[in-house]
Symmetry: C3
Subunit: 313 residues, 3 copies
């Protein structure tokens, strides 16, 4: 089955087959980073705009490296210093970019739904690089890619996602994607940071407030990043208290099955979500996730812009 979608907006609306096409394509692209010439002409002569309405180094750099390795022409538009502040509407800004006959826009925005709105109104492909608290599909895809790399088939795999589930687009995309591929998800966190209707996200989702107990039963744990800025807020425990109940300490990891792997979307708050020893330890696949993110983003950009076969050049 070939890929048919113009955009990658989220995992909620993708089928298991579509997710698998992306993962398989990423697998093929993962070889490129190991060559001495780390580049293919797949997107040569195509123009990709990275349109970031929220500051981001990690995700922007990951997409930018992916685009360069695909030989695309790239324009970065950081919207802090842009026309939006001059009263122009979002759609006018984007339609202007489209007037250059660009091929794809990678967009990050603090409002949920922006990529979907754009995708309906413009011709170029839209890749969602994070929209509000809604989805961050390429992050979830690289998480899933990493799990598949470690465990093969995801059917029946048990994954815990730990942290501020309420505000996390990473959690949301992971929950949708993992379930579609047959994995079971346990979300863990303080009750104040647990969305009320979380279990409605699917039969494969369980809630737990007990991290040590959960860790004994799962194959992988994804420790979400805590936004330190939230510490001021009422529903949030102190960082120290958070770390005590929901952080992955060296002591705690020693009580888990040896096969458990530890993931984190980065950037890490060492000593909050997990101890430095755990982050750098043998269970951690955190840097492997980053490497896989590059292959996944190359695959997504390749597929949405109409690529079907990976060049052997």
């Amino acid at each position: 089955m070939p890929w048919t979608k113009k955009d990658l907006l989220g995992l909620e609306k993708l089928t298991a087959e579509e997710i698998t096409i992306i993962l398989d394509t990423a697998k093929a692209f993962s070889q490129i980073a190991t060559r001495s010439i780390k580049k293919v002409p797949a997107l040569q002569g195509k123009t990709v705009v990275n349109l970031f309405f929220e500051p981001s180094t990690r995700t922007r750099v990951s997409f930018e490296v992916a685009e360069k390795r695909l030989s695309a022409d790239i324009v970065n538009v950081n919207i802090a210093a842009s026309s939006v502040t001059k009263g122009e509407t979002l759609l006018d800004t984007v339609k202007n970019l489209c007037a250059y006959r660009i091929d794809a826009i990678v967009v990050r925005h603090s409002c949920a739904g922006v990529p979907h709105y754009l995708a309906e109104n413009i011709e170029p492909s839209i890749v969602n690089a994070g929209d509000g608290m809604h989805e961050h599909p390429t992050q979830a895809l690289l998480d899933i890619y990493t799990l598949r790399e470690k465990f093969g088939d995801l059917k029946g795999l048990k994954v815990a996602i730990v942290g501020d589930i309420s505000h996390s687009r990473v959690a949301r995309s992971n929950i949708w994607g993992l379930q579609k591929l047959g994995a079971k998800v346990t979300v863990v966190g303080p009750s104040t940071l647990m969305p009320r209707e979380i279990e409605k996200m699917g039969e494969g989702v369980e809630v737990s407030y007990d991290l040590p107990a959960t860790l004994k039963k799962v194959d992988a744990v994804n420790m979400l990043r805590i936004q330190r800025e939230r510490e001021q807020q009422v529903q949030f425990p102190s960082l120290r208290e958070y770390a005590r109940y929901f952080g992955l300490s060296t002591k705690l990891i020693d009580q888990t099955p040896e096969s458990l792997i530890v993931m984190h979307p980065g950037p890490i708050n060492r000593g909050v979500e997990l101890s430095g020893t755990v982050a750098d330890g043998p269970r951690s696949v955190i840097l492997q996730q980053v490497t896989n993110g590059l292959a996944v983003r190359m695959a997504v950009l390749f597929l949405v812009t109409g690529g079907t076969k990976i060049s052997e050049e």
Copy 2:
């Protein structure tokens, strides 16, 4: 006749023949955006610096895409974070760039005359991307290109330019360019925003304070952007009052000849200079202007750096 100038500083000093060379070259380049590989090797191995002393997204992105499609090597220098703030003179900053044997500098500066001053003192080509309230030649060229695309020959064509004529480098460049090609220009705006000596800009320039009457007599209208920041200033009416007398409403457009086309240099203040319905309506060529801007900027960069024949590759 071949192009002979090292720089593009403004339209005031160009001949009709020179403007026509740019427009014809742009026509040839306009095809590139429709190809699957949107790129020619015309500026391969040449270095272009985008030197912006004023923040700009639209114009910078348009030049950047143009440069990439010409295969140039590009360096963006945003001067907010630059040496100028360290007490270095403008000329020292630019001479340093020239020491790398760069081929062209695209410069935007809030002071009129900066591109001319640089052009006299350095070897690389200078392209003026807007100097103070003086000229914005590539904007006027894309406006003229769009008019030529719609109407063919510009001789005798009637064009209205509406808005804050006093502070507009777009108006100034358009007035010079349009007259050279034989068009008649009517400038329309509040008397407080009309430069005193405007009629001295040429025999082809008329002043009007009555937008509805003017619109019945012209072939095209170019609605200038209002700088919202000016609302605080004494000589400026309120935005609401401005829109009432000099904005292009849906009602007003219906009273004009059907052949009238509507232009705007962007970014649009919907509901101020023109209504959203007009901006998106069948008379509007606003996005076509953006597309044409790319071809015009490719042509200008190609010509000033010594290009004569467009590669067919």
Copy 3:
């Protein structure tokens, strides 16, 4: 003898032979800027990250042009808007970049030793683009390149370095590099800006507080940039007083041997370190230094990433 080091961290630990390899390679690269296609495929398919924790236009642009002329893929990471501010450690930030299998990082940081720390902990090559008050090796290499271009062999050459020696990484790298190649260095400046143990930097280093006397005895003078921000500080004389005793005025230059050449790392404070007439005069090699900086940086990037022979293409 071939180049064997993975990194360029400073001149202190390089041998005369290693410095000579860089200078010879730079000489070969200097030809590229004079071609019509100013580009070689030496780093094609390699990825270089410019990681700047301090704002910089000049050095960043010089490296960026060098990388583009080597056909590298480039990512700029300006750390003001980055993850470091999100509580991530420096090493985590850099290890994330390394996860993309990048080939080199050009790093500038306000803390001395950062490049050395990174070099020990990561696989890609590190090029030090300035670390605190420690070293700025590519600046010193371009200074030395320029001296060699003018005088041939450096053995016995006499070079004065003038200014705020205490806080200058440029001075430090020059002192180490020049001595290794057999030159004699006289450092000149106010006693409050002279490091106490300066003479311990080598037998080839002398201290002087008398600029006019020193200038009569040397072959070249390198006028360091004064950080205007320091004027507020106690140990710093006023700029006017500084210029009077340690600035290179037109009058003073006329009292020196005609063969004396004047260098400056830029950006220049005209009227402080040297008069505008001197900066633009026949003794000044300041812009030649900038041109040479490009060739030196191309050479360094080429060598540390494993290059041995320069492509003739």
